[in-house]
């Protein structure tokens, strides 16, 4: 069940981080990636059953093949940091670090999280249209939680969206710092 919550990190994080890439949009993005990228994000989580949208904002930082940091500043501060081997979550004064191997991921997702985009096709049906990459889960387990993920952008991903089967939706707008 943690799998899906890493999908959105894996799919676009790996696109910024990875080594291999499928052809098309993701390939173009990868080719345009700098060795280091920082920026800001605005995230909206829409909870369908209570019709509430929770907005948060913060910064992100990527060093290719080394680290990925997602720092939420508002409304509540928290930091998520990932390296090729481990991930750390800091919130409310507590920090917990886990090895990537502890994550309950299938082999395909594990490869994705490690940046191997060639595994994208194992886990998702990938379609590209009008500058938008759409990922639909292939495995039954992922389909139980995630309906679809989409990625938009040209040289750099600018929007990521995740639709859950419960009707909830996650939208992330990214702005790269120049």
């Amino acid at each position: 069940m943690y799998k899906w919550c890493v999908v959105f990190l894996a799919s676009w994080g790996a696109a910024l981080w990875g080594v291999a890439a499928p052809p098309g949009m993701a390939e173009r993005m990868f080719a345009a990636l700098p060795a280091q990228a920082t920026g800001t994000f605005v995230q909206r989580k829409i909870l369908a059953d209570v019709e509430v949208t929770i907005t948060s904002s913060g910064t992100f930082s990527i060093v290719k093949d080394k680290s990925f940091e997602w720092k939420t500043l508002k409304p509540l501060p928290s930091t998520f940091t990932a390296t090729p081997d481990s991930y750390t979550m800091t919130a409310n004064g507590k920090t917990s670090t886990h090895a990537l191997s502890e994550l309950k991921l299938s082999a395909g997702l594990r490869s994705l999280v490690r940046g191997d985009l060639s595994a994208l096709g194992d886990v998702f049906d990938v379609t590209e249209a009008e500058g938008r990459l759409t990922l639909v889960p292939k495995t039954r387990e992922l389909r139980e939680f995630v309906k679809r993920a989409t990625l938009e952008g040209t040289d750099f991903p600018t929007r990521f969206a995740l639709d859950y089967v419960t009707g909830d939706r996650l939208e992330i707008d990214l702005v790269q710092s120049r």
Binding site: V52, S78, F80, K104, A107
Partner: protein, 699 residues
């Protein structure tokens, strides 16, 4: 008839181990191995389609499971959250929930309408994050990657022992799949694992071997009998007597026990050798009254040999004693009745054979003096005998259950592969007992055992949790809503509690089935323990927690049985010595020594061959002693009469018949029957040889 090994245990341990074994006893596993997971999809679908004809398919889904759980999740809290709430840290819990909501990493698994603080979501996520030892799911099947290879495990439950023909078909299908799957690109291999495969293959093999052995034994009996009697007239009395003995013996144990163990009948096949002996002597005698005394002595001594087993504390040994005793008495009675009907009658086989050898009447010394050449031969034989017996010091007892079963190499490879990937497969279990599931759950919680209660807390704990959550809502609800926008309802939680006995969702039932078993009117909760560390014994007196190690229990069982068998063998020998002394007075050593020598020599050969002595070897010595005494009695009784050559021939053929029939068992594929066959053949050889030597000495 009882076939379960665990039925041999005493009732308390039996129920626990049987319950643990039953949970996985009908589980059949096919492990697919390939270079990547996608290559395993098609083979998995093929096998599932094939198995669907015999095995119920699990149709659950995680969505359905969550839907079943959600309305009953009101009392589910992680340990960490419960500890915070018990410590009054309501603010911390609320902040954690708000952070989880706003950070975007966690999506609610239970609607925030019912679970605004994501407590149930946290609980389910935490539960899912338990160490699954590298396994995850793909389309409902456990998958994992190890050492560059991908594996997918197909698990099929609900198979019965009566499905052995289908299971053998599955095995053939898997082997056929492997034969062609190596040609696939990438290559795929299937391994098999699970008790049903072993049981089915053993059943099919045993049927085949029994058929072959029965046919060969029958031919041997007929050929030897015809050679002995120059006639087939012995066949009818032999069959009638044997059949009567088995029917009476079987009926007796069933009347006495209702459900005797199959081991009784496995051992009971040794009755054949004893029956053949009596019938042959009766057939060969001119008048059955001539052999009444030696036959009676043989019966009494053999019964005395088995008598101590009847007083054993081990049920299966008592069953063996009753079976053999009833069978022997029936054989003796059958022989007396059948051959005593016509009174004295000419023996068809005599034909002057008895005239070839004039028996030497027993004198006070009764022994011929040894000539020098015979002396040196005697010394040589004695030295050889001592050397053989010295092997007895090399005997090593063993109660390892692995001694009793050697799996087929393909099955063994599959089991090894499965356990290599599934290191968590437990050899030890913490078992908690209770009158009800709830009582057992509370006991588990009190003892701190992380079993079923770590997944589904007791109702008592869930009610406590509900009260804590109500306090959380009351104290932090308004602030939480202001921060996140998620409404927190006033009033009691509408959700119910989760009771394991009311679960209907198939995935949840599959999850808790191995952990919760009914044993009579008690409930047992079993949770796997790590191989090292963890409790070795009860957490506290009266805690209701015990540690069970199935393999160790079985080893202890067979060890106890072996010790009991050795003890009873000693009593049997002592009883026989006393009986022989009463029957034969000063000559009792002439009867006892050959049998003792035979037993020692058999032990010696087993020792030199490096055989590890088990309970089943020990049982064989009862038969060897009984038959050995028969040989000695008939040989020695005949030395005083003109029937010596005839008796010698009958004893020889009887020995050949029994030894070859038991010797054939040594060719079977089952370690138990192989061990018994080899021991019996050896024991009978030495018994015959020693009794013959003794008889020659007296002449």
């Amino acid at each position: 008839m009882e076939t379960d090994l665990y039925a041999l245990l005493d009732s308390t341990r039996r129920n626990v181990l049987r319950a643990l074994a039953d949970n996985v006893g009908g589980q059949l596993r096919i492990l697919l191995e390939g270079a990547d997971l996608a290559s395993l999809d098609a083979p998995a679908a093929e096998f599932k389609e094939y198995m669907a004809s015999h095995v119920r398919a699990e149709t659950g889904s995680i969505t359905n499971t969550l839907a079943a759980l959600a309305p009953r999740s009101g009392g589910l809290l992680t340990e960490e959250t419960r500890a915070l709430l018990l410590a009054g840290e309501y603010g911390a819990v609320a902040t954690n929930a708000a952070t989880a909501l706003t950070s975007g990493l966690l999506a609610p698994l239970v609607s925030v309408k019912d679970d605004p603080f994501l407590l149930a979501t946290d609980y389910l996520t935490h539960f899912q994050a338990r160490d699954n030892h590298g396994w995850s799911l793909r389309d409902g099947d456990p998958v994992r990657e190890q050492d560059g290879r991908c594996y997918r495990l197909l698990v099929f439950d609900g198979l019965k022992t009566s499905d052995s023909a289908f299971i053998c078909d599955v095995l053939k299908r898997v082997r056929a799949f492997n034969a062609v799957a190596q040609e696939r690109d990438p290559p795929v291999r299937a391994h098999v694992s699970g008790a049903p495969f072993h049981a089915a293959l053993a059943t099919e093999r045993s049927k085949r071997e029994i058929n072959i052995l029965s046919a060969v034994s029958l031919v041997i009996v007929v050929v030897l009998g015809v050679w002995l009697f120059r006639s087939i007239r012995f066949v009818v009395p032999l069959i009638v007597t044997l059949a009567s003995a088995f029917v009476v013996a079987t009926a007796t144990v069933f009347v006495a026990w209702g459900r005797p163990h199959v081991l009784t009948f496995v051992f009971g096949t040794t009755l054949i050798g004893l029956c053949v002996d009596y019938v042959y002597h009766a057939c060969a005698a001119e008048d059955v009254r001539m052999i009444r005394r030696p036959l009676a002595c043989a019966l009494v001594t053999t019964l005395a040999c088995f008598a101590p087993l009847a007083f054993s504390s081990v049920t299966v040994l008592r069953q063996m004693a009753l079976f053999t005793g009833a069978g022997l008495v029936t054989t003796w009675a059958g022989v007396m009745v059948w051959f005593g009907r016509a009174g004295a009658r000419p023996s068809r086989w005599d034909n002057g054979r008895s005239a070839r050898c004039t028996p030497t009447p027993l004198s006070s010394g009764g022994r011929s003096k040894l000539r020098p050449s015979r002396l040196s031969f005697f010394i040589f034989l004695s030295s050889l005998f001592i050397l053989i017996c010295a092997g007895a010091f090399r005997i090593r007892p063993s109660s390892d259950p692995a001694q009793f079963y050697r799996p087929d190499p393909f099955l063994a490879e599959g089991e090894r592969k499965f356990y290599e990937l599934n290191q968590s497969a437990a050899a030890r279990f913490a078992v908690v007992e209770g009158a009800t599931v709830q009582e057992a759950l509370e006991c588990e919680e009190a003892a701190g055992v992380k079993g079923l209660s770590a997944i589904i807390p007791s109702l008592k704990r869930q009610r406590e949790n509900q009260a804590l959550v109500a306090e959380l809502r009351a104290k932090t609800g308004a602030a939480y809503t202001a921060l996140t926008g998620v409404p927190v309802r006033d009033g009691a939680d509408a959700r119910g509690l989760l009771d394991p006995e009311e679960i209907t969702d198939p995935l949840l039932k599959k999850l808790i089935r191995p952990m919760c078993v009914k044993s009579g009117d008690r409930v047992l909760l079993a949770s796997p323990l790590p191989p090292a560390g963890g409790p070795r014994s009860c957490a506290a007196a009266g805690s209701g927690v015990s540690v069970v190690e199935p393999k160790r229990e079985l080893m202890s069982l067979f060890d106890a049985y072996a010790q009991e068998a050795y003890r009873l063998l000693g009593i049997s020998f002592a009883l026989l010595a006393a009986l022989l002394a009463a029957l034969f007075r000063r000559r009792f050593l002439a009867y006892a020594l050959p049998v003792a020598a035979a037993v020692l020599a058999t032990l010696g050969v087993l020792g030199w061959c490096g055989v590890q002595l088990t309970f089943f070897h020990a049982l064989c010595f009862f038969v060897c002693t009984g038959l050995g005494l028969d040989y000695v009695i008939f040989h020695l009784e005949a030395t005083a009469s003109a029937t010596l050559p005839r008796t010698r021939r009958v004893v020889f053929v009887s020995f050949l018949t029994s030894a070859s029939a038991f010797g054939l068992l040594a060719l079977t594929s089952f370690p138990v029957t192989r061990a018994m066959g080899a021991t019996l053949a050896l024991g009978l050889f030495f018994a015959y040889f020693c009794s013959r030597c003794r008889a020659n000495r007296i002449r």
